[in-house]
C-alpha cells in the first residue's frame, strides 16, 4: 500500500478544511510560524550536513591521493619503495577472493532462499529457527566472522592456512544472510498465480520453480548478489584475521596462494604512517570507490532494466 497517494476526496477535504480554518483564524500565531520555519531549517541543515559529509569523504580522498593517481596503480604490484608501488597484487587478490565468494554464495544463497520461500512450512519450529537465525547472523559484526575464519578455516577443521580460499569462504559466510534475504525478496515478488498456472498444467513443484519462478526472479537475485558482493569487496576487518594482512608482493595465481586484497592493502599502506604511503592509500581508496560505483550502478541499471510489473 502506498501511503503517499491519498485519494482525491481526502485531499479535497483536507485542503478545504485547512483553508477554512486558516481563513477563520487568519494567520497562524507568530510563535508557531517561527518554530515551524526553524524546524524546517533544522531539517534542511541535517540533510545537507549528511550529504556534505559524503562529499567531503570523496573529495578528501581525491585531494590526498591526487599526486599518485595514474594507470600504474593498476599495473604495478607492491614494491620496496612507495613511488614504485601500485595495487596490482591487491586488485588481483580481491578479484580472486570475490570470484570465490560468488561461486559459493550464489548456489548456497539461492538454494536457501528457494527452500525458505517455496518449500518450508512456517509452522515447523526448525524453519522458524532458520529464519530467526538468518536475521541474527546479518547483525553479527564482521570481525567476528574473521575470528570464525581464523579458528575454523585457517586453522582447526579445514586448516587451509592463510590462502585465498580461506578469505573467500569467510566472506561468503559473511554475505550469505544478505544474499538469502535479497533472493527471498525477489522470489516473493513472483505472483502466486504464475506458480498455480504451472502446477495446474501438470508441472511438478521443482519444474515450476526451475522454469517459472527462477527465470522471473533472476534480475532481482542478480541485483541482490551484486550489492552483497560489493559489500564483500570493501570488507577489511575479517580478512585481517584470515591472512590478507601479511606482506605480499606477488600476484596470487590460484585459490591456494597467499594473498592480500585492496582494502587491506590500503590499510597496510596507511599504517606505515609515512606521507608517501598515506598518499598511496588515498589513491587506493579512489580506485576502490570507482570499482564499487561501477558495480552498484550496474546493479541499479539491472534492477531498472528488468523491473517487471505483474
Amino acid at each position: 500500500m502506498s501511503t503517499k497517494t491519498y485519494n482525491p476526496r481526502t485531499r479535497l477535504a483536507t485542503s478545504g478544511a485547512r483553508a477554512a480554518t486558516e481563513a477563520h483564524l487568519g494567520r497562524r500565531p507568530t510563535g508557531e510560524r517561527v518554530s515551524g520555519n526553524l524546524f524546517y531549517a533544522f531539517l534542511l541543515l541535517m540533510i545537507s550536513l549528511s550529504m556534505a559529509g559524503l562529499a567531503a569523504l570523496i573529495i578528501d580522498a581525491f585531494v590526498e591521493g591526487f599526486p599518485r593517481l595514474g594507470l600504474e596503480l593498476f599495473t604495478e604490484p607492491t614494491a620496496p619503495f612507495p613511488e614504485d608501488s601500485g595495487f596490482l597484487n591487491a586488485i588481483v587478490g580481491s578479484l580472486f577472493v570475490i570470484g570465490g565468494v560468488i561461486a559459493l554464495v550464489v548456489p548456497l544463497g539461492v538454494g536457501a532462499a528457494i527452500y525458505l520461500e517455496e518449500y518450508a512450512d512456517r509452522e515447523r519450529w526448525w524453519n522458524r529457527l532458520i529464519e530467526l537465525n538468518i536475521q541474527n547472523l546479518a547483525a553479527v559484526p564482521s570481525i567476528v566472522y574473521g575470528i570464525l575464519g581464523l579458528a575454523f578455516i585457517v586453522r582447526g577443521p579445514l586448516s587451509l592456512g592463510f590462502v585465498v580460499a580461506a578469505g573467500s569462504i569467510t566472506l561468503a559466510l559473511l554475505v550469505l544472510p544478505t544474499v538469502i534475504l535479497a533472493a527471498r525478496e525477489a522470489i516473493r515478488a513472483v505472483p502466486p498465480s504464475i506458480r498455480q498456472a504451472s502446477l495446474a498444467v501438470g508441472a511438478t513443484q521443482w519444474e515450476t520453480i526451475r522454469h517459472q519462478v527462477l527465470p522471473a526472479s533472476i534480475p532481482g537475485i542478480a541485483t541482490g548478489v551484486i550489492l552483497a558482493v560489493g559489500r564483500a569487496i570493501g570488507e577489511t576487518a575479517p580478512l585481517l584475521l584470515v591472512g590478507a594482512a601479511t606482506f605480499v608482493t606477488f600476484v596470487p595465481e590460484g585459490f591456494f596462494d597467499r594473498y592480500t586484497v585492496l582494502p587491506v592493502q590500503i590499510f597496510n599502506y596507511f599504517a606505515r604512517a609515512q606521507q608517501e604511503y598515506i598518499i598511496l592509500a588515498a589513491a587506493g581508496i579512489i580506485v576502490m570507490l570507482v570499482m564499487l560505483l561501477a558495480m552498484n550502478s550496474f546493479a541499479i541499471w539491472l534492477r531498472n532494466r528488468y523491473e517487471q510489473r505483474w
Binding site: 501511503t3 491519498y6 515551524g36 549528511s50 527452500y115 520453480i209 570493501g234 585481517l240 590499510f267
Partner: protein
C-alpha cells in the same frame, strides 16, 4: 486474487490427489528439496561454528583469568608484565566512540528521515535516497581514512580553547564522528520507511485540526513511527559497536578507562584486529584474549539485535 497466505505452491503440491492422478513417486523432487534444505540449514551451522570457535578458546582463557576479573578489571595490558586482563578500558573505548557516533548520527539521520518523508518534494527524494544508499556501500576503510586525514585536523584547527587540550592525532572523537556518518544512512533509511508507513489519514486528521507541518511531523508521525525509529537506532548502535576499521585507523591503540573525546582509546574490535595481525603464537593466553573479547562483542551485538526485533514486534502499530 488468491492471497499467498491462503494457498502456496507448496500447499498445492502437498494436497492429496485421487490415486489415478498421483502418478509415480518422484524421488528427484525429494532429493532436490533435501539439497535446498541443507543450503538453508547451513546458516544454522554457521551460527554454531561461530559460537564453538568463540567459546572454546574463551573457556581456556577463563581458566587462567577469573571471569569477574575480566569483566570488572580496570586495567588492560595483556602483553606487558605484570599482565592484567580487565576488559573495562576496552568497553569504555567502544562506548566513547559509540556515544559520539550517536550524538552525530541521531540528529542527522532522523532529520534526514523526517525531511524525506514529510517535507521533500518527489524529485529531491529521488535524488537523495540513492545517494544515501551509495553512502551505505562505501567501505569502512575509507571512513577510517577520512576520520584520520580530514576530521581530526579539522577538529585540531578549530578546537575552542575553553574546552581545554585539543584532540590527539588519534582520538575517540574523530572516529566517533566518522562512525556517526557511517550509520546515518542506516538510521535514515529505516526510520524513513517507518515514517512512510504511517497512514496518511493520521496526518490528514491533524491537518484538519489546523496543525502545522512541523507539528504534524513531531507530534503525529514521529510517535506513530517510534518503534521503527528506535529499532533503527538500536541497529545503528550495534553496527557502531562492531565497526573495526574506523577505530583501528583513527582512534589509536591505547586502552583508556575514561569516556573521552580528545584522547586516544582502544576499542574492543580494534584490539582484536591489532592483536590478530601481530605475531602471536597459538595456545598463548594472548591469543585466547582475542576470543574472549570476541565473545563479549558477539554477546553484546546479539543482545542489541534481540532488543531491536522485540521492540519492533511489541510496539508495532497495526493500522487498518
Amino acid at each position: 486474487m488468491v492471497s499467498r497466505d491462503t494457498l502456496t505452491a507448496a500447499d498445492l503440491a502437498r494436497r492429496d490427489r485421487p490415486p489415478q492422478l498421483q502418478g509415480k513417486p518422484r524421488y528427484g523432487e525429494k532429493i532436490i528439496k533435501a539439497v535446498l534444505a541443507v543450503c538453508a540449514a547451513l546458516s544454522v551451522a554457521t551460527t554454531v561454528a561461530i559460537v564453538v570457535s568463540l567459546v572454546g578458546p574463551a573457556l581456556q582463557f577463563f581458566q587462567t583469568v577469573a571471569p569477574l576479573d575480566f569483566l570488572f578489571g580496570t586495567r588492560w595490558s595483556p602483553s606487558f608484565v605484570p599482565e592484567s586482563f580487565g576488559v573495562l578500558p576496552l568497553i569504555a573505548g567502544t562506548l566513547s566512540v559509540v556515544l559520539w557516533g550517536l550524538l552525530a548520527a541521531i540528529p542527522l539521520g532522523l532529520g534526514a528521515a523526517i525531511y524525506l518523508s514529510e517535507y521533500a518534494p518527489d524529485w529531491v527524494r529521488k535524488i537523495v535516497k540513492p545517494i544515501l544508499e551509495v553512502l551505505e556501500g562505501v567501505p569502512t576503510v575509507a571512513f577510517g581514512f577520512f576520520a584520520f586525514s580530514f576530521i581530526t585536523p579539522l577538529l585540531q584547527d578549530h578546537w575552542p580553547e575553553f574546552l581545554g587540550q585539543g584532540p590527539n592525532v588519534f582520538n575517540a572523537g574523530a572516529a566517533g564522528l566518522a562512525i556517526g556518518l557511517l550509520i546515518v544512512p542506516i538510521i535514515a533509511s529505516i526510520s524513513h520507511d517507518a515514517m512512510s508507513a504511517v497512514p496518511q489519514g493520521l496526518r490528514n486528521g491533524a491537518y484538519a485540526l489546523g496543525a502545522s507541518r512541523a507539528r504534524v511531523s513531531v507530534r503525529v508521525v514521529f510517535p506513530a513511527a517510534l518503534s521503527g525509529i528506535v529499532a533503527a537506532i538500536v541497529l545503528g548502535v550495534s553496527r557502531a559497536i562492531g565497526e573495526t576499521m574506523v577505530v583501528l585507523m583513527a582512534a589509536g591503540n591505547s586502552p583508556n578507562l575514561d569516556i573521552t573525546f580528545t584522547e586516544s582509546i582502544q576499542a574492543m574490535t580494534a584490539y582484536i584486529g591489532v592483536t590478530a595481525t601481530g605475531d602471536i603464537a597459538t595456545g598463548t593466553i594472548e591469543y585466547d584474549t582475542i576470543f574472549a573479547v570476541g565473545l563479549l562483542l558477539f554477546v553484546m551485538t546479539l543482545a542489541m539485535n534481540a532488543i531491536s526485533i522485540r521492540l519492533v514486534r511489541k510496539y508495532r502499530q497495526v493500522y487498518e
